[in-house]
Amino acid sequence: MRKLLLLTLVVFVGLAFIARLYYLQVYDASSYNPLDDSAVRKVFTYPKRGYVYDRNGELLVANQPSYDVMVIPREVEPLDTLEFCSLLKITKEDFIKTYTKAKAYSPRLPYVFLSNLSKDDYAFLQEKMRKYDGFYIQKRSIRTYRKTIGANVLGDIGEVNQSIIDKDAYYGKGDLIGKQGIEKTYEKILRGVKGTKFIQKDRFNRDLGPFKDGKYDTIAKPGKDITITIDSKLQEYGELLMTNKRGGIIAIEPSSGEILAMISGPTYNPNLLVGRNRSKNFNKLYNDSLAQPLFDRGLQAMYPPGSPFKTLNALIGLQEGVVTPQDKFRCNLGFKYGNQRMGCHVHRSPADMNLGIYESCNAYFGNVYLKIMDKYQSRVEAMDKWSAHVRSFGLGDYLNNDLSVGQPGKIPTSQTYNRAYGEGKWYPTFTVSNAIGQGEVLTTPIQLANMAAAIGNRGYYYTPHIIKEIEDDTIPSKFTTPKYTTIDKKHFEPVVQGMFDVYNKGTAKMLKVPGIEICGKTGTAENFAIIDSVKTQLTDHSIFVAFAPKDNPKIAIAVFIENGYFGSRFAGKIASLMIEKYLRNEITRTDLENFVLRYSLEHEYKKPYSGEPFGINRETILDPISEEEFEELQRKKRRIERVND
């Protein structure tokens, strides 16, 4: 017994130690990764971010160096704060505030004390920086926008936020990431892969040299350049036309689905979101709740499309065989259904399909719609059939493209009405507003442009997209595969002819561009605002969709101008100008151009906030800008033309 005490203890202690070792080294430890080793310093080298070119090879986005003043608090020696602050052009309060933050972050790690010095400041400061221990200047690369256009298209980059860092191990504090636009959608391609250098450090955080002779080090892979489908000239011209207006313009090349222009008004200079004032400027844009410059109206604004939608009902009627192009319907300043009435305007009657389209006859399409609904025994089946036809044009759902924002729009199905009225308790007459693009139908401008492209193509479309080429890579196949609508090719001609006659003798006959066969359709959308908790109607939105030329179209376009009143008043003019600009690169209809540039809608946008009663639609007036402002816009236009030639 006496002999056993020490022996037992020795064995016990030995086992306890091995158990503890097992816990520390095997159970509790994960596999070794130098990235997690706090004894190894990680130094990242950031690759060049890819450039962005437009479809004609023009450089839109490049990089510029930026200089940050960094601080390592524990290395800071007492300094002449006043002198230092005046060098950096900051106040002493700023200095103390930032320094306290840096210290709280970590006394040992570098902290961005002042970001994005200008080149001049840098040159000046570089000499003086040696005097201040613990401070140094670090070079970074930020974006520069060669043209001040396409802020909504190009987007911007900014410091990555914590929620992304938590999810994606690639990003670290202070890394830059695409925040909006193509910078966001093509982040992975543009950013490249950052390189990592591992440096062995000692417990005082001093460098001892490369860790394991650089065995784990990786070299930065430069970001790839991309070419986008935007035609920067067209984009620039569109943005000019959008001056003093709110709305969106989307132009698509029907034969490829490439987005030629994507304008949202009001817009802003993309260079505002670069560098040191980024967050200040961003907040200003973000908080502008009236003009909402960050709201991409071309992609996100959902409205009832109005008359352009009628073309789809004509196509569906033909496909379903309930109407022929020759069938006529009577229009008596509108049309009666049940005990209700849908108004129309003065035009010849009865109307066949051609007349129905170019005169935009509500009675014609109300009748066609009801015939479609009556074809099937069951209302549910008819409604869903109709809905499927409409959806095959890319409406009612996300386009699933490469833009960072979007909206699905809305196309009703039988379920929509079952939910609203109760199972089976609704009738086609309840839904007849769908015939004229009102009712439960909502679309975005890009969806309308795509619809125009599908009609121009006579039955198919390519998903509208912004990417044209990726350096050493191909673009996703979903953008190069055509998507067919449910309408047979043969049914398109009468509708195309109708849209063509809109320009010849219909609602857009004043907008003709000599020598270009344009097919289009005007539209208006009623809209409302809540003013002092009263739902108040505002001036209609002006809508226009078009494609040109009539055969083998090169451009399909949708224009949407907030409170622009009827379709040809603003939207139609802009559409004609854009088409001419793109196809000819010069403007013969300068009268249209002058009109669009001269008349501002700003007064219209102020009405709801004026606090006074106001008139809409018929009571609205055209409000010209001052002669000086007009001259300024003309100069701007000539400058654009000069630069682009």
Binding site: L5, G14, I18, Q25, A29, P34, D37, Q200, D202, L208
Partner: protein, 426 residues
């Protein structure tokens, strides 16, 4: 002729091989822990690894000397060696040199010698000599006190030199005395006091008192014999309470702040998060770094000279007291367990051989050696892995240091010599 051969080759090779393995492995780890940049000169005397190599060479000389001396010499001269050791400890108060706050070194040129290391084997010899005396009976209080005095004298001197860690090593003789006849009650009392002390610090006097009362009276009523007085358990309880209060008092008033904090960290006494954070940066810094280094080793270890925490010198004292964290980081679970197993085998082998000695002197000495190694092994590795509070004593044969290496070598090889001589005794 045959007898000559037998004598020459009767050293215990198991011990010698384990010894060589530990020394060699220790040297590799000292190299890792102390080198800065490439090693160009293995005999660079300004570096720990250079010096250690010289110490190892001198150890070989010591071993040859120890083994060639007549075995009876150690028994005969035990008293004189002990007196010399005590004198050298006393001399420190006059000629000693302060290093890290402890006055434990003699400076000879650039070299330092730590007499407390050598006092261990001297005490072991003296204890062996005293106990093996035919007139000594450890069952009597008188002889117990005499034996205790042999230990307390050097222990006290070392404590006065501010080297609490080395003092603790002398507790290892407790195992020796127990083996040689000390009553079991001492073991029970010893463990009870240890538990009482921990309870008093962790849970306070009230809970400790209640718990003690419960156990004491429980035992009393369960094992009651005729006419057993109720006063005995009451007396025990009172003594326990006095002891517990004494521990509290000692902890609060006598221990130095850093010692308090080490115990407080181990028992997790500190509740104030701000203070705990401060303590983690001060007293617990070594421990946290050493645990992280060991964890970083994983199963296979990062390989010789590949430990990032070792190379970065994150663990202070990593070539001396904290050498085991180097083993942990660079050799992983495999290497660390190997070291633990080597020590366990070494100590068991010594115990086994000691039990087989014919002379009581050899047996007691062997037992002392095993106990001393056991205490060093337990305290050092336990501390490095955070199992017991921080106490600064080296890991035998592995830690850097001449005095330590030589003293452990002498300690071990006197026993090897005594063991090889058992054939001549009857």
């Amino acid at each position: 002729m045959i007898r000559e051969n037998q004598r020459r080759f009767s050293f215990d090779w198991v011990i010698i091989i384990i010894y060589l393995l530990l020394i060699g492995f220790g040297y590799l780890n000292i190299m890792s822990a102390s080198h800065e940049g490439e090693i160009t000169n293995y005999l660079d005397m300004s570096e720990s690894y250079g010096k250690q190599l010289v110490f190892m060479g001198l150890s070989v000389v010591l071993i040859v000397l120890i083994l060639s001396v007549e075995a009876k010499f150690y028994e005969r001269f035990a008293s004189i060696i002990y007196v010399v050791a005590i004198l050298s400890l006393l001399g420190l108060f006059v000629f000693g040199k302060d290093i890290n706050g402890a006055r434990s070194w003699y400076g000879i040129g650039s070299m330092t010698i730590q007499p407390s290391e050598f006092a261990k084997f001297a005490t072991a010899l003296a204890v062996a000599k005293y106990i093996s005396d035919i007139q000594t009976n450890l069952k009597t209080i008188r002889d117990q006190l005499k034996a205790a005095a042999l230990i307390f004298l050097p222990a006290l001197l070392i404590l006065l030199q501010n080297d609490a860690g080395s003092t603790l090593v002398y507790a290892s003789f407790f195992f020796v005395f127990y083996r040689e006849g000390l009553q079991q009650i001492y073991i029970i009392i010893g463990f009870s006091l240890l538990i009482l002390a921990v309870l008093a610090l962790k849970y306070g006097l009230t809970i400790t008192g209640l718990l003690a009362a419960l156990i004491i009276f429980g035992v009393y009523f369960l094992k009651r014999k005729r006419n057993n007085s109720i006063f005995k358990p009451i007396l025990i309880l009172i003594v326990s309470l006095i002891f517990a209060s004494g521990v509290k008092l000692f902890y609060n008033n006598i221990l130095k702040p850093h010692q308090q904090n080490r115990i407080s960290l181990w028992l997790r006494l500190e509740k104030d998060p701000a203070k705990l954070e401060r303590m983690k940066k001060a007293e617990a810094y070594n421990l946290i770094q050493s645990e992280e280094a060991i964890s970083a080793g994983g199963f296979w270890g990062k390989g010789f000279m590949q430990g990032t925490r070792t190379t970065g010198k994150f663990v202070p004292e990593q070539d001396t007291d904290y050498i085991f964290s180097t083993v942990g980081e660079e050799w992983g679970f495999l290497g660390s367990s190997f070291v633990v197993i080597l020590f366990v085998f070494l100590i068991i082998r010594i115990i086994y051989l000691a039990e087989n000695q014919k002379s009581q002197f050899s047996r007691v000495y062997g037992y002392s050696v095993a106990s001393i190694f056991f205490l060093h092994f337990t305290i050092n590795i336990g501390m490095v892995m955070g199992l017991i509070p921080t106490v600064g004593i080296p890991l035998p044969f592995i830690s850097y240091g001449g005095s330590g290496l030589w003293s452990f070598t002498i300690l071990l090889f006197i026993f090897v010599k005594l063991d090889s001589n058992k054939i001549n005794e009857w």
